[in-house]
Symmetry: C2
Subunit: 343 residues, 2 copies
DNA sequence: TTCTCTACTGTGAACGCTCACAGAAGCATG
DNA sequence: CATGCTTCTGTGAGCGTTCACAGTAGAGAA
């Protein structure tokens, strides 16, 4: 390699320096930078050589100032963050989105908006155009931020079907209902007939859909709907533990339980262990997510795999398509039963 | 094209609009925006009113273009990401940094640089001035990115003491050695005398220091240094499992084991369980981190709490100080023994 | 009065880029 | 010959800010 910054920050090379070096005008350099249309091969090559020689890197602020685009997208969490950061799925999602965006050379801005004040500040920031679009991770319905962003016309892709928002927002989700059906059918196939369920929050699509899948399969199988077998949690480990205790108290003859998340299932396992129940001999346990928590649990959890890697890449794809002018799309991805020890 | 409706994007108000509305000049508005020095109370108030009325939000691109600052910082991961995203500590750290920065209205750019190509691209991006500073999470020594950034004069704060970098980079770390000493002393106080250790990677400061603390306390207690009791892992659950198996094979009379991370300790517990050892009756297990994995484990882990919330806020504080012109600082934070069931 | 000092205010000029437009060159068509 | 069309190139303007500088007004001192 040649040259180096001999100490101290020198003035960074601009498009002018490149133009002079290549013997062309700013305009031509700019055209090369932006796709190279209407540029002669000779000029193209001269410019590329000059860029390499000068070490030129485009100043995104100057570019953004005139284009109005920021060439960055936000990753927005609108809930008290503990829940998410505790959730291994979230990590996979965040990593996947960062990587998918990096492939397009687009930086990701991580935004947390747990409190009212933070929400206000971040809404302002976003609507002011500091990001081109938003990847939204907020399960609960009636999220004021989502509605405001939608109203402001900010391109938006949610993770999970947003309840109560119009069709103008794209989303990517796993097929929750179908996954739940698969799991409950699996439990039935093991000969279990008193199957309990710990649902997610019922103001989230995941909570509602997984419960619906559970009910459908029981109905198909001709089993009675017993509300003593249904309790709901909030996806946290603690709520799984509490849920299992309530189920045991209300239906001591339960022989299986479908838990709407692996983290809750960990709590369920702990409660069953304390109650002296063997898993899967006495009670089979089925989780949902196939998060790291599933393999970390003892016994290892039979669960429903959500394709988080594909969910993240699809979210990015749909958002970028929207930035390119396409209409918001809805994408539903299939799930998969993963059999381990607990059922 | 659809006509511009009320919901559509109208031209955003600029500093000009605010100035006109307030009956002052751009300059005065700018001064209000930047601290309000040399502005009369009347003008101050008029400008604030105009800002509220117009809904003005500063255009950061225009500002950055002239100031040369970007008013954002990067959060850089230079390792294959799985390790980090699997690690609950990492989440706490990321969340803490995001929040601490948000309090200063500074967005955080999440950057992953796992592969060589990504590292090149991201180094370019950073050295081009697109972030003002970098929070670095990379435990291994000899990280080329860190060295390049340091050489380019990019303000840098590492999490954990960077091995092999000069004193020009700030860092924040827990007192690893002292924490390890506390844990081993605790195991001794329980009457254990054959204490094994599963270390972290020995090219990381955490790996080295925690092992050193272990050795110091054994020496103080007059116990022999037995290399059969020392194995090293890579902080992953799987490596903990493998480490415990090797320890059991080499030292069947071991009555305690100090594990340099909770995640590895989970693996150790699983291996001990399979080997028919009761914890803590047969073998006491001590972890390190006090991550969620500690309470999720069965039995719950006795561990060393690292003050991740303070680590993140200190990292941000040190970085911002550096951006303000101060010299890079090194901060060591105290740890704390958390007693649970495993020891 | 006149001068100085302080507190405040307005005005060009950048910052580095893209965009619209005007033009040039080459070549086919009228 | 002019006329058009396509491909390529350079130029001026301007994006929304901050900064340096040149002012103005009012108070106090000589």
């Amino acid at each position: 390699m040649t040259m180096s910054n001999t100490g101290g920050r020198r003035r960074a090379p601009t498009i002018h320096d490149v133009a002079r070096e290549a013997g062309v005008s700013r305009g031509t350099v700019s055209r090369v930078l932006n796709g190279g249309h209407y540029v002669s091969p000779a000029a193209q090559e001269a410019v590329n050589a000059a860029i390499r020689k000068t070490g030129y890197v485009v100043n995104r602020h100057a570019r953004s100032l005139i284009t109005g685009r920021s060439d960055s997208v936000g990753f927005l969490l609108t809930e008290p963050q503990e829940r998410f950061f505790e959730d291994p799925n979230f990590n996979v999602l965040l990593r996947g989105c960062t990587q998918a965006l990096a492939a397009h050379d687009i930086p990701l801005l991580l935004m947390l908006a747990g409190t009212r004040d933070e929400r206000r500040r971040i809404t302002r920031y976003i609507t002011a155009g500091h990001v081109d679009g938003v990847l939204l991770v907020s399960s609960h319905s009636g999220d004021p931020v989502a509605e405001e962003l939608r109203a402001a016309g900010v391109p938006l892709v949610a993770c999970g079907k947003p309840i109560g928002l119009g069709s103008k927002v794209g989303y990517v989700a796993a097929d929750d209902r179908d996954g739940a059906r698969d799991m409950v059918r699996h439990l039935l196939s093991l000969g279990r007939r008193r199957i309990g369920v710990v649902t997610g929050p019922l103001d989230t699509p995941g909570g509602v859909e997984r419960l619906a899948g559970y009910r459908e399969v029981l109905a198909e199988a001709g089993l009675p709907a017993d509300e003593r077998l249904v309790v709901s949690g909030d996806y946290s480990r603690a709520s799984g533990e509490a849920g299992a205790e309530r189920l045991l108290a209300r239906a001591p003859d339960m022989d299986a339980v479908f838990v709407a998340s692996d983290l809750m299932a960990q709590g369920v396992l702990a409660a069953l262990h304390r109650a002296g129940k063997r898993v899967p001999e006495d009670i089979a346990v089925g989780g949902f997510d196939d998060s790291p928590a599933a393999t970390a649990a003892t016994p290892a959890l039979t669960t429903i795999r959500q394709p988080w890697d594909r969910i993240s890449s699809e979210m990015v794809r749909v958002l970028l398509a929207q930035l390119g002018g396409e209409e918001p799309a809805a994408v539903i991805l299939p799930t998969e039963l993963v059999r381990r020890e607990s059922a």
